[in-house]
Structure formats: C-alpha cells, structure tokens
C-alpha cells in the first residue's frame, strides 16, 4: 500500500495531521465548554456529540486531496500519532481510537472502490466514521450503560455532525486550498486543472 504513495503525499498527510491534531486538541476544550452550557438544560451528554464530526475531518480532507486507497485511515492514524508526539496528555489509547475512526471513514471510500469523491460520498464517509466510532465508544468509554433513548439520540446527533463538520466542511476546506494552486501536484489539484482546461477550450 505504502509503495503506491509518494513521499510528498506522506509528508502532506503528516502536515495535515499536525494542523488538525492541534485543532483536535483544541476541540476537547470546545466540547467541554458546550457541555457546561448545555448542562443546565439536562443536555450535557450532547456536548461532545454536536462537534464530534470535527475529529474525522482529516480523513476526509486527505482522502479527497490524494484519492488513494488507505489514505483516509492512515491520515487519521497519523493525526493521532502527532497528537501523542505533541507531548500532551494523549497516550497510545488515542492512536487506537484514531485507527477506529479512520477505518470508519475509509469504509465509505472502500464501498465506492476509491473512485468516487463527490460530496455525497464525503458526507457518507463522515457518517460511517461517526457510526463506527459510536460503536467503539459503547465499549471503550462504557456508553453501553446508558439508557437506549439517550444512545439513539446521541448517535443521531453524532452522525449529523459527522456529515456536516467532517464531510461538508472537509470538502470546503480542500476546495479552498485547491484554489490557491498549492495542490497542483496532487489528485485534487490535477482534477481542478483538467476542469479549467476543458472549461477554457
């Protein structure tokens, strides 16, 4: 798998991992703040679920830019490793969670045989990452002890969050980046170039 990747693509994933790794860490604080705001309304369990999609975004951005099998999974794992390297409180357990989320995001691209990168597939990828990570948290965080109605409600919120914050926002950021022409050497930039040429002709 890695033999198909160029070194610059791996360094790109790593750079994305560094940038989004910082954003990921910052969003733990954001989640805590939202949780505190929602707590008086008895909605504290939804605090993190609303923004959960942000933790899948690097999979969608990397897969959309590079368009190769395994990218969604690896990019998320790399982001997890960078979070550990940043020397904060994140331990090896975080890499494991990242691998689960990455596998969830990869699932959607695998189902389309890594050929289709339209918005709907990106949204679907964010949703599948949300679903798989939800199952993982049932077990790892002990969410299995919660009442069924709450579990269903949090799942719905997380899937919507995955669709919007990972799928839609991920595509938007990548498209904005492609416009700056720095992605010319990668699949997304090449596609944009091709579209411009046919548009001009």
């Amino acid at each position: 798998m890695t033999n198909q990747w160029k070194l610059k693509e791996i360094v790109l994933m790593s750079i994305l991992g560094v940038v989004f790794g910082i954003i990921y860490l910052a969003f733990f604080l954001v989640g805590q703040v939202i949780q505190n705001i929602l707590a008086p309304f008895g909605l504290a369990p939804f605090g993190y679920e609303i923004i959960f999609g942000i933790w899948f975004i690097v999979s969608i951005v990397a897969a959309y830019i590079l368009r190769k099998p395994g990218v969604a999974f690896t990019a998320e794992v790399i982001a997890g490793i960078t979070e550990v390297l940043l020397g904060t409180t994140a331990g090896p357990g975080l890499i494991l969670s990242a691998a689960v989320q990455g596998a969830g995001a990869e699932l959607a691209f695998a189902l389309t045989k890594w050929k289709d990168y339209r918005l709907r597939v990106l949204i679907f990828s964010g949703m599948s990452a949300a679903l798989i990570s939800f199952v993982w948290h049932l077990f790892y965080a002990g969410n299995i002890t919660l009442t069924p109605w709450l579990l269903v409600a949090t799942l719905v919120v997380r899937v919507i969050s995955g669709a919007l914050l990972a799928g839609v926002l991920g595509k938007w950021i990548s498209d904005q980046l492609a416009k700056t022409d720095v992605l010319r050497g990668y699949a997304l930039g090449k596609e944009l170039q091709k579209r411009r040429e046919t548009g001009a002709a």
Binding site: T2, L85, G87, T89, L96, I173, Q176, T180
Partner: protein, 259 residues
C-alpha cells in the same frame, strides 16, 4: 527509570490494561489498578507530583461530570439495587452510582496510563522505535517526523499572518459571518504554506538519497532488553493480579454481570 524503557513496549504495556479495563463495571478493579498506576508513576517514573497534577486535575473534573451523567442516565441492566433517592425525575439507584463511579475510575486509569507514557517518552525515540520494532515503513516514520518538525514554524507563520493583516488594516470582525471569514483568512494560508513546505521537504529528502527502503541502517539503534519485558509483565501482570483478587473477593463485574 521508565523513560529508558523501549517506547513501543511501553505503548503496548499501557494499551493492554486499558482495553481490558473496558470490560469491568465494578468499582474495586479500576480503583485498585488506579492506585497501582499511581504507585508505579511516583516510585519509578521520575515525574514530579506538581507537573503530574497539573495535567491530571482537568481530567479529574471531566471524569466527575462523566460519572454524574452516567448516574443520571443508566439503563436497566446497570441500575440494579434499591432506589437511594429521587432527584427531580431521575431515580438514583445503588447500581447506577456504582456504575458511574466505576466508569469515572476507569477513565482516570486511562488518563494515568496515558500520562505514565506521555511524560516519560521522547517523541523522536517513539517514532524510531515504531519503525525498528513495529516495522512501520521508514517512508511513513520520517514523513511524520518531518511534518511534526513544522510545528514551531506554524506558530511563526501565524504571527506573520497576523502582522500582515494588521499592517493592511484588516482588523477583528464581529458576528458569525465575520468569524467564519476570519477563520478562512488564517486557516487557508497556513495550510497552503504548510503544503508547499511539505512538497519541498519531500523533494529535499529524496534528492539526498532517501528511498524509503526498509533495508537500511539506523544511527539510533532502538533495542528491546530484559528490563523492557520486566516492565511489560509488571504493568500487565499487576492488572491480572488485581482482576484475580477482585474475582476472589466477589467484586468483579463484567458488562453488568457478576462473575
């Protein structure tokens, strides 16, 4: 002393009890293991208590709020026992309190294990060990290390961006739309510059002969010694002994079922 343990072995040693703890839903097992990790951290870790507390205390609050949430919303399997008291429309049973406490202690165990790893491990050595012991391809290892080194550059670049905005009179904006615009003004140039650098570094590495070949020599040899396995069996063995104790004392509870 723990800082000299091979990072890969340390990571696996910390992961295994973490995963196994996810099966237990009683109070005794995570509590005793938490005490065990504290003992390991402060007797063998060379970690200063104040530094440790600084990292740990926020998570203590998070664990408390998490426990409280679980107590309020436990399902039937876990809300066994008598109703202790009623709070507004929530009936709090002994079972839900025990489950909530257990989950909170479990997450404190996760944090303590993570800190035991994070505060005693050198980032570069961790990556080198992942490459030499866990056979992560050199392309990925050095790719990550190269990207990770850009972190200070990002801070510098953010400052430059901010100054560039200020000198051109682009101030802070109000409202949600302004905030989104502001986010784009910072995030896109930062990422774009990062990608440019990624490309340059990759070309530089390859032009200096980096092929990503797995058959290569290493300047820093990471090895696994006897003391690494002793550490591994100590951390994992400690967990197994506590589970056996908890079973014999009749506390052990796996997925809501007493065993």
């Amino acid at each position: 002393m723990i800082s000299s343990i091979n990072p890969s072995i340390k990571a696996i040693a910390v992961l295994i009890p973490g995963i196994l703890l996810s099966f237990t839903f009683d109070v005794f097992t995570p509590l005793s293991y938490f005490i065990f990790i504290l003992f390991v951290t402060f007797t063998m870790g060379d970690i200063s208590v104040i530094k440790w507390l600084k990292f740990f205390s926020p998570f203590f609050l998070v664990a408390l709020s998490f426990a409280w949430m679980t107590i309020l919303y436990t399902n039937q399997t876990f809300s066994y026992g008598e109703v202790m008291f009623t709070l507004w429309r929530f009936e709090i049973t002994t079972g839900s309190i025990l489950t909530g406490t257990s989950l909170a202690l479990r997450s404190l165990c996760f944090v303590a294990l993570s800190l035991l790893f994070a505060l005693t491990t050198d980032s570069t050595k961790f990556m080198l060990s992942l490459m030499q012991q866990c056979k992560v391809p050199p392309k990925i290892t050095y790719g990550i290390l190269a990207g990770y080194r850009f972190l200070p550059l990002f801070q510098q670049e953010l400052q430059i961006l901010r100054q560039a905005h200020r000198i051109r009179g682009v101030g802070r904006t109000k409202g949600l739309k302004g905030k989104i615009n502001q986010f784009r003004r910072y995030a896109i140039p930062l990422l774009a510059n990062g990608i440019r650098k990624a490309e340059r570094v990759a070309i530089a590495m390859e032009s200096k002969g980096f092929t990503g070949d797995t058959d290569r020599t290493h300047y820093h040899q990471m090895t696994i010694e006897k003391k690494d396995w002793i550490f591994f069996s100590f951390i994992v063995g400690g967990f197994i002994i506590i589970v056996v104790f908890s079973y014999n004392l009749g506390y052990l509870n796996i997925f809501g079922k007493k065993v």
